[in-house]
């Protein structure tokens, strides 16, 4: 396998944007190309578009060639849209990594996008429920919030996780997103604000939930040879892991023990040749506050059941054991499904180049990971990045 590096990253401002799907694509395309001034567009030989549901959000299929139009590139090697619900963006990066590592591509653009705010919000809610088994589970009115609410219910019951610990995750991530001009939510909030916010699905309240957000993000990956010509400070893709445990509720073995996440982490760390103690910075999939707490545990940052204590002790803040979600996470940045996994990679890339605002800069990060879950936490996808080859 060839070595692969991230050589550029960029994103558009996220939020309830007065902009269409294809305008978000153009903005993120410009951002990433502006970040790679030495790269001729003609060198981009492959394109992977992370998009969960342009079919319904933008009534558009065959989106990868449309993105090529919007960005003005003409890939000659590989092109595809990747759909893996909330992990669609990371799927794009994983395929680009694979294509370059295998020698099929030298320079690949990964662009993730979702336009979720439409005139009728029920459209977005309906689309998102179909991430679950629509005929047998979503038909009951189930969607992500009730699922993660039950995960929180079980985690509280089995491990004594508290309402306040959930709130601290939101407080931390909104604190970080207030330093991020691209984030949907730019005002810091306190734990008490979370507890005063409207109930969505008990025990989860509005500020326990990531936002419905419009956004796009992009990275460029390159082979070692090309990476060294393009930048003095590439960020290397060191490894990856992924694990699947079905979709239908009959296969939800546990709500608060996510075995497939633990397995994905084991594969990812093994392929990268790292151990968990090497990780300085992690972008994890905090679609809900409870998911970040369970992520601490299954990623091995703390023992099973100690995720609540981990946030309470400040171990996921800068200066703690692992700085988690420094860009603000999904809670602070919002969650445009296809863009999230790529924006997380942009954060690791910029952290390793010391390009983020000082307030959220992790001192000298050498190893970082990005994690996305998708569906009812049935799939976990993890990428490992390193400043050193």
């Amino acid at each position: 396998m060839r070595k692969v590096a991230v050589v550029a990253g960029g994103l558009c401002p996220w939020g309830v944007r007065k902009a269409s799907w294809r305008e978000l694509v153009q903005e993120a395309g410009k951002a990433v190309l502006d970040d790679a001034p030495d790269l001729g567009k003609g060198e981009i030989d492959s394109l992977f578009v992370g998009a969960a549901s342009p079919d319904r959000f933008a009534f558009q299929l065959h989106v990868a060639p449309l993105v090529a139009d919007m960005v003005g590139i003409h890939p000659t090697k590989m092109v595809a849209r990747t759909e893996l619900a909330c992990a669609s963006g990371q799927a794009a990066v994983r395929y680009a990594w694979l294509a370059i590592a295998a020698g099929l591509s030298d320079v690949a653009l990964c662009l993730g996008v979702e336009k979720m705010n439409l005139p009728d919000m029920a459209e977005a809610q309906t689309t998102m429920t179909a991430v679950l088994d629509r005929e047998w589970d979503a038909i009951h009115g189930a969607s992500a919030p009730p699922f993660f609410a039950m995960c929180a219910q079980h985690h509280m019951k089995h491990y004594g996780t508290t309402r306040h610990q959930l709130s601290l995750v939101s407080e931390k991530n909104h604190g970080f997103s207030s330093t991020n001009p691209y984030a949907h939510f730019q005002r810091p909030i306190m734990a008490a604000n979370v507890e005063d916010s409207p109930m969505v699905a008990p025990p989860l309240r509005l500020y326990d939930c990531s936002g419905i957000t419009d956004g796009a993000a992009a990275v460029i990956l390159a082979s070692e040879e090309r990476a060294k010509e393009l930048t003095d400070t590439p960020v290397w893709v060191k490894g990856s892991g992924q694990c699947v445990s079905g979709n239908n509720s009959a296969n939800w073995r546990s709500l608060d023990v996510w075995d497939s996440m633990k397995q994905a982490a084991k594969t990812a760390y093994g392929s990268a040749g790292i151990s968990v103690s090497d990780i300085d910075i992690a972008e994890v999939h905090d679609c809900f506050t409870i998911s970040e707490i369970i992520a601490y545990e299954e990623l091995g940052f703390c023992k099973k059941g100690q995720g609540g204590k981990f946030i309470e002790d400040g171990q996921s803040r800068i200066g703690g054991k692992v700085a988690v979600n420094t860009r603000g996470g999904l809670l602070g940045c919002g969650h445009p499904l296809g863009a999230t996994g790529i924006a997380q990679v942009v954060e690791i890339y910029e952290q390793m180049q010391s390009k983020v605002p000082r307030k959220r800069q992790v001192p000298d990060p050498k190893v970082g990971i990005t994690h996305n879950l998708s569906g009812a936490a049935n799939v976990h996808s993890i990428l490992v990045f390193g400043r050193d080859r």
Binding site: M128, W136, G141, M150, A201, L204, S249
Partner: protein, 152 residues
């Protein structure tokens, strides 16, 4: 003045019906719905390896045999997890808010499945006894939910 145009509000292609076609023209498991209509709750079981599947299948996910038979499922179970959706319902369900959702562990066989629960959230607790109810769905279709069993 020209003729007034029809409502200019953007109408996106509507969500496909949550309830897929249930008749034998569209699915090979139409028997599930025919039986449900009569109050029977069934699924498929592999005649070769004995694996019980949920939801019903046409090929066994364990041994890939296509010789499957129909068996009855328990219509009673215990509440394993539960919550209530208070906002953000999918299209066509907004008028039902708030409504309860839970995971039921069916008696005897231990199969757990998600269901809407026709009992108010405040009346739910872990391990509460639940029973199946059959509900009419738009377009002459049927589906199931659960509700708390009335205590004697």
């Amino acid at each position: 003045m020209g003729k007034k145009r029809s409502d200019p509000k953007l109408v996106l292609p509507l969500a496909m019906d949550f309830c897929s076609p249930q008749s034998e023209d569209f699915t090979r498991i139409s028997r599930f719905f025919d039986e449900l209509r009569k109050g029977r709750f069934m699924t498929t079981k592999c005649k070769k390896c004995g694996t019980l599947s949920w939801p019903p299948r046409v090929v066994c996910p364990e041994c890939q045999s296509d010789k499957l038979g129909w068996v009855s499922l328990p219509k009673k179970g215990k509440l394993w997890a539960f919550t209530e959706l208070c906002m953000g319902a999918p299209g066509g369900m907004e008028q039902d808010l708030p409504f309860s959702i839970g995971i039921i562990e069916l008696d005897k066989i231990g199969l757990r499945l998600l269901s809407r629960i026709d009992t108010p959230f405040k009346d739910l607790e872990f391990n509460k006894s639940m029973e199946l109810v059959v509900v009419d769905m738009p377009g002459d279709k049927v589906f199931f939910r659960f509700k708390a069993k009335r205590s004697r």
